[in-house]
């Protein structure tokens, strides 16, 4: 089973390469456009300025007057605008697509994890990874293009300047290189600050998510102000982190800018004599000044690039933690994102070649929650076709855990599950409809219509839906809904009552026509009559096998076998009467009181 491994994280370069492989055309296009703009257009602009000033002082190589150069400059500017606009589209398409690819890969991977343990942290925190970190990595790849384009531009500029005046070039641009080296060393701390900043931001979003997820509890408790105080504290800590991050970056950036001004001053110092004797024209001076800003930008770009590199590293690291030990390249796996054209089908490929259930055997199943004593230990269980099994026990005894581990929603530590004597290697992919269907204790609904919540992409006609709704004893509620099945149930189904949610989940289970029905305390949100109705309809299904967690006496009486859980272990198995005679735990559960000597 999947374990969180200590695999080294995917490197930034590999992630970059992975993304390029996803969209090679887009990336080459953005690179080609940018290089052309920098090397073609921006070089030309510098030369036009130089020719203009030289045409003033009469030392121009071409006989064109200053007005002609003004006209050329406008023409070049028009061309530049057209190119940059195209470049922007490609750029946005690239950053959006790469971020979308990572987001999809993350979601797909999380959905393939054991369902009950899919996330290592709160959903609010996970969302911050989906939102900011995916963008960060996408942006970083663009800076790489910037770096290349400005690098080529810088090389051309240096050669041009060296040919005009080697001495000025060397002395004015030398200190730049030195400062770059020093400043880039200092950027090692960027990652540290960035990480702190990001995690403070994650705390804020995580808290907002929880605050509004649990808004009813907060309101009922009248705890708005204490929640806000906590929120303010988190905001304040984020401000401090953001400020430190910003100050550090700003000092570095400013160092680069300062170097440009100093460089400009050095040009003045060195070129003074040459300007006096006419070996260095005013046109040459204007070209040097023009290049100076560009070369500074280039150096700045290098700096930003390395900062982004490290930030991207932080982001990749955080996203990988969501992947919890998958193949490191899973994050940038090539996958279609369907920004246009027909969408892929909404239905999973059907389960093929599963023989009908005869016996389901569980042996030695063990699962312990990390950092806690809890879980289940060494559980044996046998379900016969058409039988009705009730799992019972007090809270925290491990009943829900058993269901989850059996269905592959939690990864077992040890133990096996056999279907008709055949070993099931991957319960998570095996125990899905039509083999089994499951209703969790608190089922999740999504803010879609009731119909969509029941179908979840299943292809079924109205008749089948109506049947499932009836089977789930939901039809009288449905009559009350103005929009019937099209009723939108609100975020996480909050517009339905607890019982309605559970029965909607039951309808979701029924419509899947599964052979093995697994219910976790189906009745806890239902009243006696509704529950009775529901069970009647459940039992009306021929040939189904049931595994149910419940404390209800009628169900315990009806059970073909009762599995009594205590502290994560099976205490006893059997029909009700013999259990009541021989099992003290069963007696105390049945009578609804805890015997002193038991505890």
């Amino acid at each position: 089973m999947t374990q969180v491994s200590d695999r080294p994280p995917i490197s930034v370069v590999r992630a970059w390469w992975g993304l390029i492989r996803c969209f090679p055309g887009l990336y080459s296009l953005t690179m080609a456009l940018r290089i052309f703009v920098f090397v073609g257009i921006f070089q030309a602009t510098g030369l036009i300025i130089r020719f203009y000033f030289d045409s003033l002082s009469g030392s121009a190589p071409l006989a064109w007057g200053p007005n002609a150069w003004a006209a050329v400059m406008l023409a070049v500017a028009l061309l530049r605008n057209g190119l940059i606009f195209t470049d922007m589209y490609v750029f946005f398409r690239w950053t959006f697509s790469t971020a979308a690819t990572m987001r999809k890969n993350l979601l797909e991977h999380i959905l393939s994890r054991p369902g009950a343990r899919a996330l290592p942290s709160s959903t609010g925190e996970a969302i911050s990874r989906f939102r900011e970190d995916a963008d960060e990595v996408g942006n970083y790849t663009v800076w790489a293009v910037f770096l290349l384009a400005t690098g080529i531009f810088g090389a051309v500029a240096l050669i041009t300047m060296a040919r005009i005046n080697l001495r000025v070039t060397v002395f004015a641009f030398m200190p730049l290189l030195l400062v770059v080296a020093v400043a880039n060393l200092a950027r090692a701390r960027v990652q540290q600050y960035r990480e702190a900043n990001r995690s403070a931001a994650g705390d804020v979003t995580g808290f907002i998510g929880e605050m509004f997820e649990h808004v009813q509890a907060v309101q009922v408790a009248g705890a708005e102000e204490s929640m806000l105080a906590q929120f303010e504290g988190l905001n304040e800590s984020r401000r401090k982190n953001a400020l430190r991050d910003r100050l550090f970056n700003e000092v570095l950036n400013s160092t680069f800018h300062n170097v440009a001004s100093v460089g400009m001053g050095l040009i003045l110092l060195l070129a003074g004599a040459a300007l006096r004797d006419g070996s260095f024209t005013i046109g040459d001076f204007s070209l040097f000044a023009y290049y100076m800003t560009f070369v500074t930008n280039m150096i700045n770009t290098i700096g930003v690039f390395f900062a982004r590199w490290k930030q991207a590293g932080v982001s990749i690291d955080r996203m990988e933690r969501l992947l919890q030990g998958a193949q490191p390249t899973a994050l940038v796996r090539k996958t279609p994102i369907h920004l246009s054209g027909p969408l892929p089908p909404a239905q999973e490929g059907s389960h093929v070649g599963t023989e009908p259930l005869q016996t389901l055997t569980v042996s030695g199943l063990t699962y312990r929650f990390p950092d806690s004593e809890k879980g289940i230990v060494d559980v044996d269980l046998r379900l016969e076709r058409g039988s009705f099994t009730v799992v019972t026990g007090r809270i925290g005894a491990g009943k829900t855990t058993l269901l989850r581990v059996l269905l592959g929603l939690l990864p077992p530590e040890s133990g096996t599950v056999h279907w008709n004597g055949r070993l099931i290697h991957e319960p998570a992919t095996f125990f899905v409809p039509p083999v089994s269907a499951y209703i969790a204790q608190t089922p999740s609904l999504f803010s879609e219509s009731l119909r969509e919540n029941i179908l979840l992409g299943l292809d079924a006609d109205d008749g089948e839906v109506a049947q499932a709704v009836r089977a789930a004893a939901l039809e009288s509620d449905l009559e009350q809904f103005e929009n019937g099945l099209e009723t939108v149930v609100g975020p996480r189904g909050v517009r339905l009552s607890g019982g309605q949610r559970q029965r909607a989940a039951a309808a979701r289970m029924f419509i899947r026509q599964a052979a093995l029905l697994v219910c976790d305390d189906l009745s806890s949100a239902l009243d006696v009559e509704t529950e009775q109705q529901l069970w009647e309809r459940l039992f009306a299904r021929q040939d189904a096998t049931y595994l149910v967690v419940s404390h209800r006496r009628p169900l315990l009486r009806r059970a073909d076998q009762i599995v009594v859980f205590k502290s994560g272990r099976v205490e006893d198995v059997g029909r009700l009467e013999p259990l009541l005679e021989r099992c003290a735990e069963m007696r105390s559960l049945w009578e609804g009181r805890v015997l002193e000597e038991d505890e």
């Binding site: 203009y52 003033l56 200053p66 003004a70 400059m73 406008l74 530049r80 940059i84 589209y89 946005f92 398409r93 979601l107 999380i110 393939s112 369902g115 343990r117 609010g124 996970a126 969302i127 989906f130 995580g206 907002i208 509004f212 009813q216 907060v218 705890a223 401000r239 910003r246 700003e250 000092v251 400013s254 001004s261 400009m264 003074g272 006096r276 005013i282 001076f285 369907h338 892929p344 909404a346 239905q347 999973e348 058409g386 007090r394 809270i395 269907a437 969790a440 204790q441 999740s444 999504f446 803010s447 992409g457 009350q480 103005e482 929009n483 607890g498 806890s524 009647e536 209800r552 805890v594």
Partner: protein, 617 residues
């Protein structure tokens, strides 16, 4: 909704006023920064003219060194202003975040049922993040660059009136064009942000429902919806991005026009002998220099557009009013105005001719989604202080609605709900909710320490009080088993507390608050009988000096009730003393008892009814 300048201004004044000192310091540093930026080109002009005229080397060297020195000081000022602006921005937006969060927390449940937590993250954090830049950069960029622009034009006018006038005209035209385009992209940004909120809201909700998605084999469907929303997200975003970018593009072209104008004018004035070549270079340099502030101002307009979309959405959120507006009378009255009143002991509760239907309004995509909840109509019920009422009824019969009305999560349409003889609408909301406590079946826990979960992050509650409550409940051992005492972190989801255990936390929460009325809404439905029994003593203790409403569909839960009320379709079907009803074979309660699980003597009957539809086996 088109955000006006006035709206920006109001926001700015409101959130910058508390930091007047810092803001003024920021402005001062900015002015120094701008002054230095204006001076350096003048030095360069002097240098060029002296050098070309064959001036003394010593003078040239001094000018060059002065140039370097001023540049260095200017950089320091620049760092200072950026960091200060960032600080001001964060403080302002944090205050805004707090205000918005407070507003939203107070909105009634109708609002929250229409907005996912993911969407709230996007609205409170995402939208305001866009504003952070607005606050951080607005002062620096708009004020600073505006000043720089004016300074450059002033210097140019002093050099040559014609050049100054031409450059001034150019600057005004450029700004006007850009200003015209300002609001073009706002609606697009708004749409883009909405699509983004829906997209991330979707992802958040699915991440919280992985168990059901897996077990229902709905991965392909989830990805299908993911792609649908992603596509909308892309289409709205690219439209907004490109529109915003067109503006910058237009600005760039206009600068080239400005540069060309400077070229042409400079050349003609130079040839006529009005200007030195150093001054031509100065004009060219300043023409570039003003393109910088204009571009920044244009960029700021673009940020305005983004922020505008955010502000519009924030404004919309602020404008959403709770249906539970506090009546002035409630706030004014003395006895309630002084903080939380101490335990007032058991309070009477009365429902007087209550009529209520759940609101059916919703955002456009959900407008027709009237959920057919049972409306209460003419509902009448009175509880004396200390009375414990068992409220029975089918799911959706209106039991929970009564509890919600009592806590004023909704307001009645007509009639009155009275607590201690006072209409709940006339209670200050905080007071009411301090006096009426409720435990629901879904306990909402935070990923935080036990202490924070019990006190809702209220750090002023002393540990001793918390332990006392735990002791009273007889849960000391259970809490101790979590390790780390009150500092133990609760893990949400699997590996953490079971649903039943969460109930224990909820019980402790309510013990701590010590209300006069307690509503247990199916509170024990998730507990196994053994654990339920374990809580008996505590519940007894809790109800002993309080008025209690036990909402249940499990009959064992209402065993401690003095009186039973059975609700159906929003009306009372039957009520009476519990003992009397249980003894009356004609009562509905009696029939429920037979059906249910209480009495060993009638189990055969219960079984028969329950297995009515069972196939022969």
């Amino acid at each position: 909704m088109r955000p006006t300048l006035q709206l920006y201004w109001r926001l700015l004044v409101r959130y910058l006023r508390p930091q007047l000192g810092q803001t003024l310091l920021l402005l001062l540093i900015l002015c120094i920064n701008i002054l230095l930026q204006l001076i350096n080109p003048l030095i360069m002009r002097r240098f060029l003219d002296s050098a070309l005229a064959g001036g003394a080397m010593e003078l040239l060297t001094r000018l060059a060194l002065l140039f370097i020195g001023i540049a260095a000081v200017q950089q320091v000022a620049s760092v200072g202003s950026t960091v200060l602006a960032e600080n001001v921005g964060w403080r302002a937006t944090n205050a805004l975040r707090r205000d918005l969060a407070r507003h939203c927390l107070r909105l009634d449940l109708t609002f929250h049922q229409q907005h996912t937590p993911g969407e709230m993250i996007e609205r409170i954090d995402g939208d305001i993040n866009a504003l952070t830049r607005f606050f951080a950069q607005l002062v620096v960029q708009l004020f600073g660059n505006g000043l720089l622009l004016i300074g450059v034009l002033a210097v140019l006018l002093r050099e040559d009136l014609r050049v100054g006038a031409a450059m001034g005209t150019f600057a005004v035209i450029t700004l006007l064009v850009l200003g015209r385009l300002r609001n073009l992209a706002v609606p697009h940004w708004q749409r883009s942000r909405e699509a983004s909120a829906r997209f991330f809201g979707f992802v958040e909700e699915r991440l919280a429902g992985t168990e059901d998605i897996r077990a229902s084999n709905a991965r392909a469907f989830t990805l299908f919806r993911f792609h649908q929303l992603l596509r909308t997200f892309w289409r709205t975003t690219i439209r907004a991005e490109l529109l915003g970018f067109s503006m910058i593009n237009i600005a760039w072209f206009l600068f080239s026009v400005g540069g060309a104008v400077a070229f042409v004018m400079g050349a003609s004035l130079y040839f006529s002998g009005a200007l030195t070549i150093g001054t031509v270079y100065l004009i060219f340099h300043y023409a570039n220099l003003i393109s910088q502030p204009i571009e920044r101002i244009a960029q700021e307009f673009e940020q305005f557009q983004r922020a505008g979309a955010g502000i519009a959405r924030i404004q919309e959120l602020f404008a959403t009013e709770s249906r539970l507006a506090e009546t002035p009378a409630a706030v004014g009255e003395g006895e309630f105005a002084q903080g939380r009143a101490g335990p007032a002991g058991a309070l009477a509760v009365e429902f007087e001719q209550v009529r209520f239907a759940y609101p059916t309004d919703a955002p456009p995509e959900e407008t027709t989604a009237g959920l057919g909840q049972f409306a209460l109509d003419g509902f009448q019920l009175r509880l004396e202080p200390n009375e414990v009422l068992g409220l029975l009824g089918r799911t959706g019969s209106g039991k929970t609605t009564l509890a919600r009305l009592l806590l004023r999560l909704y307001d009645v349409d007509s009639g009155r709900v009275l607590v201690a003889g006072r209409d709940v609408r006339r209670w200050p909301l905080q007071q009411l909710r301090a006096q009426v406590g409720m435990v629901t079946q879904n306990v909402q826990l935070f990923q935080a320490s036990i202490r924070d979960n019990l006190t809702f992050f209220d750090r002023s509650v002393p540990d001793a009080r918390i332990w006392e409550a735990i002791d009273t409940l007889g849960l000391t051992e259970w809490y101790a088993s979590l390790g780390d005492g009150l500092d133990a972190q609760l893990q949400i989801g699997s590996g953490g507390l079971s649903v039943g255990e969460s109930q224990l936390v909820a019980f402790t929460r309510i013990f701590l608050r010590n209300p006069g009325v307690i509503v247990l809404d199916e509170a024990s439905s998730r507990l196994d009988p053994a654990t339920e029994a374990f809580l008996e003593r505590a519940v007894t203790r809790l109800l002993s000096s309080r008025t209690g409403i036990l909402i249940a569909h499990r009959l064992s839960t209402v065993q401690r009730a003095d009186r039973i009320v059975i609700v159906e379709n929003g009306e009372i079907r039957e009520q009476g003393a519990r003992g009397a009803l249980a003894a009356d074979p004609a009562s509905h309660y009696y029939r429920l008892l037979q059906l249910g699980i209480e009495d060993m003597g009638v189990e055969e009957l219960g079984m028969e009814e329950l297995s009515a539809g069972e196939p022969d086996r």
